[in-house]
Symmetry: C2
């Protein structure tokens, strides 16, 4: 089996409402569908989300790098030779979600050609992942209402609170309101998306002591090297690296220099191959991982479940898997379902991301 | 004075011969000319070199990020408010040469509007920079012939040898042949462009002891964190970070984690504003800097001279400024000249990069 060509199809699906973060606001999922075609007629599928404020990619840059660089360089390669594919793609710097999507599409082809679900090829630990739901930038009472609704409707009991606002009291209040309203049994952790300084993050940790928070993700810019090191040393809960650790090399440098002591793995930027490398680095060095979300579609979320459920360490914490609920529609033919707080892996050969061709025709932008 | 719009014009000028490096080979300068237009009719000019194997950018990605993100976000801003421009551009991750070119074009506008050469606005230390010439991947005898020719023709007495080849003996031999042929007075240093492992680099340092080398740049991938730290500890000469340190945050993390102990500054990726920040970091922490070359055109090289000559620390070592000699032509109306081993700054208001419009019309690709 040989790679013949790689399609990069821009498409746009609106969100049900604008999504707001410390680093910006988005109104529609303007992504790129990646399809790797082989000489045997198999097609590997994955989704690339352009995130200029996180990885510097645009729809145009993803299409260009796949069309002009990865497509020609990977043509003729057997999808099973993924160390070769990695070495080829590694020559081009950055372009993380473009690379991640190509890698996942290659794994999809591997699974299809071997007649085996990819979650089994990767490790086969569990048949699903618990879901963590993300709560973002709204008045505390509304956040509590949303959390209660998601617990009721989907059985979700882990919540990630998006923080990084000023004055700090806004987020501190939200933590207190959520803990009081949801009780002791619910897991709550924070993600500041680099919105604070390291010293502000320390202040928030002081003001939320006793609230049972389990982690603080990307509190400040990693370039605040010395202050962030001090924060990590003083924090009672793990400081999770996310935007600062897109590659295995970044993971090792941040961990070794004391910039974080837990790692967020995102298949959208790491694919399955680099995510495996990062997971090994983290379990080997003895730090926790979380499976994160790149505001993923159902295609992207299915990839995260596929990888996350496959290993003991990556399914220990709940995975961030519910962002697709904010989309008005999706390209996936058979929708993802959250039941009893869990999304299950698919038992079909490959990753199982079968595309609804009518919807693709409706939403594609080329 | 307000920014009205930013043009991003793709163009292609052939090299006189293919340029080879450990990380790839290029046949033509396919760059993007950046022009920032103001409401007062002034135009700031700079050059963005797409380097997918160094910064992950393509011509298409540079054009997209300038057209869709930086242009709209910077419109209405006074070019003098460059901390605001920096903050705006920093939101978008990576895209280093696109950002660098926009920043240099803004400085060009600042100089023009104040009627002052930018090298004076930046510091005004010297009226020119000594030139270091890059020798790349050819048999040792040819490298020696080229070095002798450049010394004869341009008065250049500093040479950077591109290395990173296997077997290691190829580069070791080149060092010995150059030193023997050029004598003690000529400065020679190495750049492996991540071509070796850290242990291979240590082996090369052992086999070139006594050859008077003054630095070794980017010996291996910075993601080889522990081995590279050991290399830096054992090396008798400075280990220069280049590809691993595109931003001030990368500089601080690499220096603090022991991944290098000297820094290559490139205006192509840092503009003048971030280059100033990096220079302050390096002089403050007490490490050497070199002014590097991104296979720059004459427009890009003039920017490097403008910044490099302006500060004592950045003009102490010879700057890498001769790559433009490999181009069959250039957009700069008044050509750069290397005389007695030096390129002089321009005493016109701004940076002084006046474009030959006929040549632009001939080489532009849009």
């Amino acid at each position: 089996m040989k790679i013949e060509r790689i399609e990069a199809i821009p498409y746009s699906i609106p969100y049900t409402h604008p999504l707001r973060f410390a680093s910006g606001e988005v109104h529609a999922a303007e992504h790129v569908l990646i399809r790797v075609h082989t000489d045997e007629g198999l097609v590997g599928t994955a989704d690339a989300p352009p995130r200029p404020y996180t990885y510097g990619e645009t729809q145009a840059s993803i299409i260009a790098v796949v069309r002009d660089i990865f497509g020609p360089q990977l043509a003729g390669l057997d999808p099973l030779d993924r160390e070769k594919a990695q070495q080829i793609m590694r020559r081009t710097i950055h372009n993380d979600t473009a690379k991640g999507a190509v890698d996942i599409a290659l794994w999809d082809l591997i699974g299809q050609s071997l007649g085996t679900p990819v979650h089994q090829l990767l490790g086969g630990y569990a048949d699903g992942m618990r879901v963590s739901h993300m709560l973002g930038f709204r008045p505390a009472a509304e956040l509590l209402e949303e959390a209660q609704r998601f617990r009721e409707q989907y059985g979700i009991t882990t919540f990630k609170l998006k923080t990084g606002r000023r004055p700090l009291g806004l987020d501190v209040e939200a933590v207190h309101v959520l803990r009081e309203g949801l009780g002791e049994e619910v897991e709550i952790y924070l993600d500041a998306n680099r919105g604070w300084t390291a010293n502000e993050a320390l202040e928030v940790l002081r003001r939320t002591e006793g609230m049972g928070l389990t982690a603080l993700e990307e509190p400040c810019d990693a370039s605040e090297a010395l202050s962030r090191r001090r924060l990590v040393q003083h924090s009672a809960i793990p400081i999770v690296g996310d935007e600062s650790v897109p590659t295995p090399g970044d993971v090792s440098r941040e961990l070794l220099s004391g910039g974080c002591n837990a790692i967020c793995i995102k298949t959208a930027r790491s694919g399955f191959t680099q995510a495996t490398e990062i997971l090994g680095l983290c379990t080997g060095l003895g730090v926790d991982v979380t499976m994160g979300n790149q505001i993923d579609t159902q295609i992207g979320s299915l990839a995260t479940v596929t990888f996350g459920a496959a290993h003991e360490a990556s399914q220990r914490r709940a995975g961030e898997l519910s962002n697709f609920l904010d989309m008005a529609d999706d390209l996936l033919a058979e929708p993802l379902v959250i039941r009893d707080g869990v999304i299950r892996v698919r038992e079909t050969a490959g990753v199982g991301a079968v595309i609804d061709e009518d919807k693709l025709a409706r939403y594609r932008q080329d």
